[in-house]
Structure formats: C-alpha cells, structure tokens
C-alpha cells in the first residue's frame, strides 16, 4: 500500500486516549493513546499476548476499559448506554480472528443476521440484494446457500468479511485477519481488505503480527509494547528504525 499518507484527512474517526485495561493484577493496556484518521488504514503491531485483541475488543465494547477514553465517530463510548452502543456498532464492522460464523446458519442467514436488528424494516428484496452484493464483493456469491462447515478457511474468512460489510460500516476492525491462513490465501485476504477499503471508503484498524499483511495494508503502524503505543510511523519509517524492539518485527 502507498505509504505516503499526505492525502489522508486528519479528522480522527477513532480517538483512543490514555486507555487502561487490566485483568486482575495483570495490566494489559497502560496509557495507550492513538488516533485513526478518516480513510486511514492503521495496523496495530505487537507480539502474541501483548494486548492487541484486548484493545480491539475495547473499541467495539466487548471489554469495558478501566481507564482512559475511546471516542468513535465523535461519541465517547464510555458515555453510551446499551442502545447507544448498538447504534455505534452499526457503523463499525468487526472481523473476528476465528471468523465467528454461526455454525447452525447458512451463509445467507449469517449475512442477514446483523440486518435483523439494525435494518428491521428492510424488504426481502433489499436484504437479498445486500447479501448478494456483499458476497460478490468478496468473490463468493455462489456460496450463499452453503453452510459454513462446507467452506475452506479462506472462504470462511471472506464470508465473515462480507457479513461485516452488510451494514456498510464506516470503520472496519480486523482481529488478526490472516492468522491460520496459508501465505497465498493470506495475500488474497490482505488484497481484499485494501479493495474493501477503496470500495466502501472505510477507515480501518488491523491487528496483526503477519508482516506481509502489515506491509500490504498499513498506511501507518502503531507498535504495541508493554501495553502502550511504543512507536508510530509508516512501514518504511519503522523498517529503518534502529530500535531493537521495533527491528525484531522486521527481521
């Protein structure tokens, strides 16, 4: 991806300020701050267990932060009630690491599921149109009546991606999108993510430690070490860093 970010407006769609999260006595996020600009693709890079997934789950409201604040599309998520959180989530797509497709539902039902709450009055024709459009955009229109168990890992990832797109989100959150995939499929998913960014005009936060994926998708990279944002820059800037903590990711 083009690392020249001068074309990206500075309006932040997500502002994370001094975020703190701990489980028992184990501090996972400590004074973590980051801005995601509109249209930007931000990769949060960190080692396994460094708190990347906790960070992204705090953003979507699956974990409540113990301190600091998260502002998404101008709204402080700590001030939102359950309904407010639901409204916010309609603007944010979340791709789970395990895909989280519903085993007992067909691909069509999986894609229709988010619409049952957020688009209650949508007609059957419109719902079908949205399902087919999302599946077409990930190249899997022919799987619409299949069960998730009939799909390969890469196909499941694409269907999960299509499900996140069904509500036309403004922001996409990806939790380790290429983990567990072979290099070829991983490359396809990374390419698809950049395509989606272009088609749907989304801003993205991508949690990853797959450097190939990072290189293909990142406008900027935030390095997460010891619970805070250790370094921030483009792929080229960080690659040239002499800091051993950063260099280890690029070796």
């Amino acid at each position: 991806m083009d690392n020249n970010t001068s074309h990206i407006p500075t309006d932040p769609v997500i502002r994370i300020s001094h975020l703190h999260k701990q489980f028992g006595s184990r501090v996972v996020l400590n004074d973590f701050s980051l801005d995601l600009r509109r249209g930007e693709s931000m990769v949060v890079l960190g080692r396994s267990g460094s708190g990347k997934s906790v960070l992204i789950k705090c953003l979507i409201g699956l974990y409540m932060p113990d301190g600091g604040s998260i502002t998404i599309l101008g709204k402080d998520t700590s001030q939102l009630d359950h309904e407010g959180l639901d409204v916010m989530r309609a603007h944010v797509g979340f791709l789970f690491q395990s895909n989280a497709l519903y085993d007992s539902m067909t691909v069509r039902e999986n894609l229709e599921f988010p619409m049952r709450h957020h688009l209650k009055n949508i007609s059957k024709e419109e719902a079908n149109k949205r399902v087919m459009e999302a599946l077409t955009n990930v190249g899997l229109a022919h799987t619409v009546d299949m069960m998730p168990s009939e799909l390969s890992g890469g196909m499941q990832k694409r269907v999960a991606l299509a499900r996140t797109l069904i509500l036309n989100p403004e922001i996409m959150l990806y939790d380790e999108p290429t983990t567990g995939l072979d290099p070829v499929t991983g490359k396809e998913i990374s390419t698809l993510m950049t395509e989606i960014q272009r088609i749907y005009n989304t801003s993205s936060i991508i949690i990853s430690h797959d450097m190939k994926c990072v290189e293909r998708t990142a406008d900027r990279i935030a390095v997460l070490i010891d619970g805070n944002c250790y370094a921030l820059g483009t792929f080229d800037e960080l690659q040239q860093s002499n800091d051993q903590n950063i260099k280890q990711f690029f070796e």
């Binding site: 979340f94 519903y102 599921f113």
Partner: protein
C-alpha cells in the same frame, strides 16, 4: 478464616449461577423477545427428543410391570398391578426418568453448543451484531426446556402405561379399556398435579444449567467438553434435589 479451596469454589460457582438466574429473570421480562427462536428451540428440544423419551418410557413401563408382578403375586394382589404401576409411573418414575433422559440429551447438547459458540467468538459476534445473545440463546432455550419437559412427561407416561398394559398381558389377559379404567380410577389430581408441577422445575433446571455451563465455557475445546459433562452431572443431581424438595412440600400440604 480462609475457606477450603473446594468450598470457596462451590460458593463462587453458586454465586455466579445465582447471578445468571437473576439475569435470566430480568431478560425474561424484557418486552423484546425472540419468539421465533423460542418456537424453533421447542421443536429442536421437544419434538426431536420425543422418540428417545418414547422408547425409554415404553421399556420403563414394560419392565416395571414384569418386575412387580412376582412380588404382587406372592401377596395375592396381582389384580392391583395396573393401579400400582399407574401410581408409580405418574407420581414418580415417569417424571424423574423422563427428566434424567432429557437432561442427558438436552443439557449436554446445550452446554456443548453454547460452549462451542463461546470459544469460537460466535456469542461476541451476536453482541456486536446488535442482538442480545442472552435473550437469543439462553432465554429461548430455558423457556423451551421448561415448557417441553411437562409435555414430554405426559407423553412418556402414556407410552409407559401402554408398555405396562403389554407387560400385564404377557402372563395374563386384561383389556386395554379395563387396564386404563383401573389406572385412572385410583389416580387423583393430587397425584397428577404435583408431578406435573415438578417437571416444570426439572425443565427449568436442565435448561438453566446447560446454558450456564455453556455460556461460561472457557479454555477452548477442552472447556466445551467439560461444560457438556458438568451440565449433565449437575442437572441430574438437581433433578433429585428438586424431587426431594417437592415430595417434602406435597407431604406438608397433605397431598401424599
């Protein structure tokens, strides 16, 4: 004073289950319910359990009759066989055995299904999709087990009595009409109603334990297996505890 590990674990588990039950009650009275999912669960939980319940009920009635006959013959009261079997099946054996079979099939199934959904982040995905997973998964299943177990028990009792009728006719001859006339002649509302009411509690216990164990499943696939196993063990134990309590209550009320 520090509590022993096992006791403190037990108290923590009991507290956690109490919170789960109180959340169930709160969500139950929410105006927006998943009725379509509830009907689906009634089908999955109730209708698809019917064959198993029916077969075990039939065997239970037949075997009970064959086992009771020699004892009654020795006292010269073989003619009371339909009455004895009818009372035993309707008051105690039918509800308890049906509930135990139901717990084995349904509680473990719910525990495994919800546990699997938990570890593969499907429950989180529901939350993110704007659907309340507790109402969608837990409330519908607990309601379905609570409603379907009494219905299955009635059907199981009926099939058991038919099995018993065949058992009576292995070494004797009684017409179907006479058999059921003898059974129903002695049965009263105080035999039937407490038995039916306790199946509501059995159904609730089976559903809530299966959901609780599955919903709080941890540690990957190993945790799913443990959840399913624990759901069966605890719900089976609860069936006997509830049975003991209801017998005491009916005794106090003079219904025994």
């Amino acid at each position: 004073m520090k509590l022993p590990v096992n006791l403190s674990d037990f108290l923590r588990e009991a507290g956690s289950l109490s919170l789960f039950v109180s959340r169930f009650v709160t969500e139950l009275f929410h105006p927006r319910q998943e009725w379509r999912q509830f009907v689906r669960q009634c089908f999955v939980i109730g209708v698809q359990s019917f064959a198993l319940i029916g077969i075990t009920g039939f065997i239970m009635g037949l075997v009970l009759t064959m086992q009771l006959r020699p004892s009654l013959m020795s006292y010269g009261v073989e003619a009371q066989l339909p009455v004895m079997v009818g009372l035993a099946i309707v008051r105690e054996i039918g509800p308890v055995i049906t509930a135990l079979i139901f717990a084995g099939k349904i509680s473990s199934g719910i525990g495994a299904e919800l546990g699997s959904m938990k570890v593969t982040e499907q429950i989180d995905a529901m939350e993110v999709s704007g659907t309340n997973p507790f109402r969608y998964l837990v409330v519908t299943r607990v309601l379905a087990t609570t409603v379907m177990l009494p219905i299955l028990t009635v059907l199981s009792d009926a099939i058991s009595l038919y099995g018993s009728y065949l058992g009576v006719n292995i070494k004797g001859h009684t017409s179907l009409t006479l058999f059921f006339f003898q059974v129903f002649q002695t049965l009263t509302y105080s035999d039937v109603l407490p038995a039916m009411i306790k199946t509501l509690f059995f159904g609730f216990a089976i559903g809530i334990i299966g959901c609780y164990k599955g919903y709080n499943s941890q540690k990957g696939t190993e945790g799913v297996g443990k959840s399913a196993n624990a759901a069966v063990v605890i719900s089976s134990l609860l069936i006997f505890i509830i049975d003991l309590i209801t017998v005491q209550i009916t005794d106090l009320l003079g219904l025994n």
